[in-house]
């Protein structure tokens, strides 16, 4: 009984496998040539749908940088059915003269002719074949409407391929270029590193299969990828990057049609908000026009950079492919150094603004009080004509000077004296306390430390002991002292906010860890609180106000009188034959400081005429920021 049933089972299995065999016979033997033809005439191709990169916006959300989509038209000569008709249809669609389209096609023919010059017939045949099946760009930046028209009527436009092109647009050209950054082509090393770090895999939406990723990789799909060069484009590169989608296109080589079989939608990247205020940034850029130098405006309380400009600047749009040789030369010009962010990457002698540090040091080390006075007769000592006050140039003298009018008149002799009393170690200590000689840890790349000279450094650098002359030089901000404009701005902010050293930043609300117990967010933009005696800063602030608002002040009468601003000018010697750097740094409003600023013009002459004159526009604009 049971054995008979086994036989039935055997019959059943033979039947099942027999059905498969019959089907295989029909598929492979009877229809084999049909399917082989099918396999040859159809190509299926995976295409990446590029994801839009996130926008970069100012503090109010106004876009500074965004991706735009444009479309290019390509021609595959082999697949053109009827050239005359194609020219007619295209010119109708593009609203141009048929002759214009025709001439584009003729250019292609010409290209082929040039390629085939002086070649053997067999080579020519090969070149022609290559040419026939390659894709050639014929029109750039066509509209979306035209592109979709062509896509939807692919049989009418056989031989024409539309390709989507994504382009990064910097809406205000060179505005804030050093903060925003630019996009650049990956080089070989960067490509390999990215490959090793699985960078491209992360750039694809999760639903894309591993094998598809390898197909794209193998095809070199990512070799043209751009990455952020400097600035926010670089530091937020991964955040800004979207995740690419895919589409599966099948093309019938005989019918010359194509259809989309499947699509995985891309995910656009995240938008980044800057602390920059677009309007103020424009004002700042205007002020620096045709000058070499930098301006930075920063919130004194939380370190938000409201504007940051470094000139000469560059237009990131021009660094997109194809990059003109002219642009390359400009970027590589070592004298102009447009790629250098001078605010953080330029180290300069500072001059008189450093006197604030000398003053704080003397007060804090209790070498003087605010009332301590010294007499200025134009010279530090009768024996040396070398250390003189700037008034000596005009055969004048300052007379009795205390802290306030010493700062107001920027009297060198006063600072020579208090500097001498305080000594290099005291001055150096307070310079460092206020952030000189160290990076501010701003969220931009390329920041310099600057240099606060001390005795060991001096010995190593000059093979000489540190003499009084060096102390005197340091106390008025000359000598080996090197600072970045940002350090000066940060120091001014610390003066304005009564001794808090902030960490400058251009990214708004980024990396702000929130405590989970409902407490207010930790303020990690406060670098440290400087331990100060109460009266020193208030005296200095009062003096800074007088610099601008009282006659005899070095920034008086420059159109700043009506503004609630306090500041200090500086004319930093750069050598005996070259013009000095002009500096003006300060804060506003005087009563309740909101922002600090630094204006620095390389070889700009006197601090008052070279830098402070630029201030009124900027301060007016900055005061408008809510």
């Amino acid at each position: 009984m049971s054995q008979r049933r086994i036989i039935l089972l055997i019959v059943l299995i033979i039947g099942l496998l027999g059905i498969l065999e019959v089907r295989l016979f029909s598929l492979q033997m009877i229809s084999g040539s049909y399917y082989r033809e099918q396999a040859q005439k159809r190509t299926t191709r995976i295409e990446l749908i590029p994801a839009l990169r996130g926008k970069i916006r100012d503090r109010h959300g106004r876009p500074l940088v965004q991706d735009t989509i444009s479309f290019d038209l390509y021609l595959v000569p082999r697949e053109v059915d009827d050239r005359v008709k194609l020219v007619k249809d295209l010119s109708l669609l593009l609203k141009t003269e048929p002759a214009k389209v025709e001439s584009e096609l003729l250019t292609l023919d010409l290209k082929l002719k040039t390629l085939a010059e002086n070649k053997t017939p067999s080579q020519i045949k090969k070149i022609t074949r290559e040419h026939q099946r390659q894709i050639h760009k014929i029109f750039s930046n066509i509209s979306f409407e035209v592109a979709s028209e062509i896509e939807s009527a692919s049989d009418r436009f056989s031989g024409i391929i539309v390709k989507e092109k994504k382009q990064r647009r910097y809406l205000y050209q060179d505005l804030a270029c050093h903060t925003v950054g630019y996009m650049k082509q990956m080089n070989e090393t960067e490509y390999r590193d990215a490959l090793a770090a699985d960078y491209f895999r992360k750039g694809l939406v999760d639903s894309i299969d591993e094998s598809l990723y390898h197909i794209l990789l193998e095809r070199g799909e990512f070799m043209d990828d751009q990455i952020g060069g400097i600035g926010v484009e670089k530091i937020c590169n991964d955040l800004l990057n979207g995740r690419h989608g895919l589409k599966l296109i099948e093309r019938d080589l005989v019918k010359k049609q194509q259809r989309e079989l499947n699509r995985i939608a891309p995910e656009p990247g995240a938008d980044i908000f800057l602390t920059i205020d677009l309007t103020l940034q424009k004002a700042v850029e205007d002020a620096l026009k045709n000058k070499t130098g930098s301006i930075v405006v920063m919130d004194v309380n939380n370190g938000e950079i409201l504007a940051l400009a470094s000139h000469p600047a560059f237009d990131p749009n021009k660094l997109q492919r194809p990059v003109l040789q002219e642009t390359v030369n400009y970027m590589n010009d070592l004298k102009l150094a447009p790629g250098l962010n001078r605010v953080i990457g330029g180290a300069y002698p500072l001059g008189s603004i450093f006197k604030l540090i000398t003053a704080v040091a003397a007060l804090e080390e209790q070498k003087i009080t605010t009332a301590t006075s010294f007499n200025c007769d134009g010279y530090f000592s009768r024996s040396s004509k070398y250390f003189k006050c700037w008034v000596a140039e005009y055969q004048r003298e300052h007379g009795m000077m205390n802290l306030e009018n010493g700062i107001q008149h920027s009297c060198n002799v006063y600072f020579f004296n208090i500097g001498k009393n305080t000594g290099v170690d005291g001055i150096g200590k307070w310079a460092r306390n206020f952030g000189f000689g160290q990076t501010s840890r701003i969220d931009l790349i390329g920041e310099k430390e600057g240099l606060v000279p001390d005795q060991p450094y001096h010995l190593g650098r000059h093979k000489k002991k540190w003499y009084l002359a060096d102390t005197l030089n340091l106390s008025i901000g000359q000598g080996d002292l090197m600072v970045t404009p940002l350090q000066v701005c940060r120091m001014m902010a610390a003066v304005a906010n009564n001794g808090s050293l902030v960490r400058p930043h251009v990214l708004k609300n980024q990396a702000q860890p929130r405590s989970n117990q409902g407490q207010p967010p930790v303020d990690n933009y406060l670098e440290r609180k400087i331990d100060l005696l109460s009266q020193s800063l208030s005296a200095i602030k009062k003096a800074l106000y007088k610099v601008v608002h009282e006659s005899g002040g070095t920034a008086h009468g420059l159109g700043l009188d009506d503004l609630p601003v306090a500041g200090k000018t500086s004319t930093a010697q750069t050598g005996s034959t070259t013009a000095p750097h002009a500096w003006f740094a300060g804060f506003a409003p005087y009563d309740n400081p909101r922002f600090a600023f630094v204006i620095m013009v390389e070889k700009g002459g006197k601090g008052s005429a070279g830098a402070a004159v630029l201030a009124p526009e900027i301060i007016t604009q900055a005061l408008n920021i809510k």
Partner: protein, 399 residues
């Protein structure tokens, strides 16, 4: 356990198994090989950019080759492990294993529950238990355990004498089915019912009873299609019914597969030369759709040879079932052969448009550790039963 290992191995059973595994490894290898060659040429052709020859592209190619070899390498490791288990199974009396049938069944059932609880999510389905570098797929082993439990239950003919007694086998079948369906793994679920029916039939249940059962199940499951199946599972069935009109990629997959198989012709395109491009977009090229690669590259000759090997294996196995007078062994073979055959039919059928596209692996051939290992275990059990026909063993017949 017997010390007298019989020397008369049934080579008609063993040879097909080894050949099928070997063919599988070759196919998995070749499923990777054309990958690299093809793409360099296609990129140069369509993009019109000469990137295929740049140094970076070559190193990337090397990486991909490396990546694909991993599949071959892993499959070889699984094959060796499978072989060890296979040999081990020959050394114990299957009749001893019989006594543990229910225990093994419960254990694997526990694993299935575990998969649902902790199983990691892959392709939207929970099927695996991660095990170091590998992942265990309990549903593969459930097929064997359920056949053993059914054989254990039905070895006494009285247990299927009345319709009411069917409740036992049906429960043994439906519980793992339900758990596997929850994963969700529609394909594997499909093979349980035919196996149950065949085993009831071989066990000697009345045909009338079996027909009533089939009818009842049909009603239950067709209503299940409308109320329980997920959209993508319905899509797959729809794609099977009408491939050209199906909206999803399933229909496309089938068309591409048909083109690939058909273009193989009589002698095929040669090993490692599959280039219809169809399988390029079928992610399961080395896996569920491995037969596409075989039939494209080795043509009608090759695919017929593979079918012949399966037929030889199934018939030799059933021959042993015919000869043995011991009902557990007979039922065991019938059940194992049925599930392997159903799996083979559905897998090959789906590549040539005769069965819905489901994630069922091709026994002995498809890439995958659990699948290969369970195939080896099934083969080991079948060979084991076939050994016991040697007269030195006591013959018990409960008929």
């Amino acid at each position: 356990m017997s010390e007298t290992i019989p020397v008369r191995l049934n080579w008609l059973l063993i040879l097909p198994v080894f050949l099928l595994v070997l063919i599988g490894v070759l196919a998995i290898w070749s499923a990777g090989a054309p990958f690299t060659q093809r793409l360099i040429s296609s990129s140069a052709e369509t993009a019109g950019e000469n990137i295929g020859s740049s140094p970076t592209a070559i190193s990337v190619a090397a990486q991909i080759k490396n990546f694909l070899k991993i599949h071959v390498f892993k499959q070889l490791i699984f094959a060796v492990i499978g072989l060890v288990v296979f040999i081990f199974l020959l050394r114990i009396n299957y009749y001893v294993i019989k006594d543990y049938s229910y225990l093994i069944y419960l254990f694997i059932l526990g694993l299935l529950v575990l998969v649902i609880i902790i199983g990691r999510v892959t392709h939207g389905a929970q099927r695996w238990i991660p095990l170091g570098p590998f992942a265990l797929q309990p549903s593969e082993f459930m097929k064997i355990a359920f056949v053993m439990a059914l054989a254990r239950f039905m070895m006494f003919k009285d247990n299927v004498k009345y319709m009411a007694y069917f409740i036992g086998p049906v429960l043994l079948t439906v519980i793992p089915m339900g758990l596997i369906f929850l994963q969700p793994n529609l394909g594997t679920t499909l093979i349980f019912l035919p196996t149950l029916i065949v085993m009831l039939f071989v066990a000697g249940a009345r045909v009338k009873h079996i027909l009533i059962l089939i009818f009842t199940l049909l009603i239950l499951f067709s209503s299940g299609y409308f109320f329980v199946l997920k959209e993508y599972q319905k899509d797959r069935i729809k794609a099977f019914v009408n491939p050209t009109r199906a909206p999803s990629s399933e229909g496309f997959q089938l068309i591409q597969s048909l083109v690939a198989v058909g273009s193989g012709g009589f002698i095929g395109r040669g090993w490692g030369s599959g280039e219809s491009g169809a399988t390029l977009f079928v992610p399961e090229r080395h896996n569920d759709f491995v037969f596409t690669t075989i039939s494209e590259e080795w043509g009608f000759l090759g695919s017929s040879f593979v079918l012949g090997l399966y037929l030889l294996f199934f018939l030799s196995a059933l021959g042993s079932a015919y000869q043995t007078r011991e009902p557990f062994g007979r039922l065991l073979i019938s059940g194992l052969v049925t599930y392997l055959c159903v799996q083979t039919f559905i897998n090959i059928g789906m590549t040539i448009g005769m069965a819905p596209i489901t994630g069922i692996p091709l026994p002995f051939i498809s890439y995958g550790g659990s699948s290969l290992l369970s195939s080896f275990i099934a083969a080991g059990l079948i060979v084991n039963v076939s050994l016991k026909q040697i007269p030195s063993f006591a013959q018990r017949d409960f008929e």
